[in-house]
């Protein structure tokens, strides 16, 4: 089970609201490479993983993604808190304001609602871990674009850089988990719960 800790994984203190940046950053909340998708992907995939290390790493990275989700929503909130509807509209958030006001809705930068179609769960550890490696690179790439777009505000760039770096670490750990499984599969005899001779 999960237990909430009343703190962020890494501090977010944005002094100047800037709805234009919120419009971009919300993509890492509920967009195609965002944190909800990451958390749901890993927390779902862990169930059918065949060995100890891959179960643990998917469980623990999936859990960390929930903390990142909270950081991203905190950024969106601080960038839009107290901003007038007129200024939201000027920043391109008129449509968003119509449906969600100052709330944080899981959607992409272009306004598409979060969809589980952005992730896959196959019960094939090679397919799942390869997807996870790609997902981490896509999230890293998105954070780099956001860092470029937000370059003017160091308060925004700082947590984005932290989140980007976590993607790199996750990629490394998933790579090790995948190597580990491939090593086992290449042995003439192997014993795992799920993988049978084929």
């Amino acid at each position: 089970m999960w237990l909430y800790q009343k703190k962020l994984e890494y501090p977010v203190n944005i002094k100047n609201p800037n709805p234009r940046l919120a419009k971009f950053i919300i993509s890492q909340y509920g967009g195609p490479n965002g944190e909800i998708g990451a958390a749901m992907r890993y927390i779902s995939q862990r169930i059918s993983m065949p060995d100890q290390k891959s179960k643990a790493i998917l469980n623990d990275i999936g859990t960390e993604e929930l903390a990142h989700l909270e950081m991203v929503s905190t950024m969106v909130h601080q960038l839009t808190d107290g901003v007038s509807p007129e200024d939201l509209e000027k920043a391109g958030l008129g449509d968003y304001y119509t449906d969600h006001g100052w709330g944080t809705y899981p959607q992409s930068a272009s306004g598409m609602a979060f969809s589980a179609q952005t992730l896959q769960v196959t019960s094939d550890p090679i397919a799942d871990l390869q997807e996870d490696l790609a997902a981490e690179q896509k999230a890293r790439m998105t954070y780099e674009k956001l860092i470029d777009l937000c370059a003017d505000d160091p308060d925004v760039v700082d947590p984005l850089r932290f989140l980007r770096e976590r993607e790199v670490v996750h990629f490394q750990r998933f790579g090790e988990a995948l190597n580990n499984i491939q090593d086992k599969l290449s042995k003439t005899k192997f014993y795992m719960n799920q993988i049978v001779d084929r």
């Binding site: 089970m1 862990r46 100890q52 290390k53 179960k55 643990a56």
Partner: protein, 92 residues
């Protein structure tokens, strides 16, 4: 004899885990109630009682049977040990 010992250890583990689950549920339920009724002294008192008890039995469980969270200090990384809660035997 060996089997008997194992059985005793397993039943102690199960009993302690069940106690932790019950105690955690008390806290969840009281927490929801206190979120809406924060001035209810009786509920607060019950919450304290269970929160203190949970701390004690969680320490006991983790020192005997391994970590329940990754915050648990340990000499050997027992976090990897199976079964996980969704697996056979991981939940009884």
């Amino acid at each position: 004899m060996m089997n008997e010992n194992c059985k005793n250890i397993n039943s102690e583990k199960e009993a302690l885990l069940k106690e932790i689950q019950e105690c955690t549920f008390y806290i969840i339920e009281l927490g929801l109630y206190l979120d809406i009724n924060p001035d209810d002294k009786e509920a607060l008192c019950l919450h304290n009682k269970h929160a203190n008890h949970l701390r004690k039995i969680t320490d006991k469980y983790e020192s005997m049977f391994g970590p329940l969270t990754i915050n648990c200090p340990c000499n050997k990384w027992r976090w990897l040990e199976e079964p996980w809660p969704w697996e056979k035997g991981g939940n009884d």
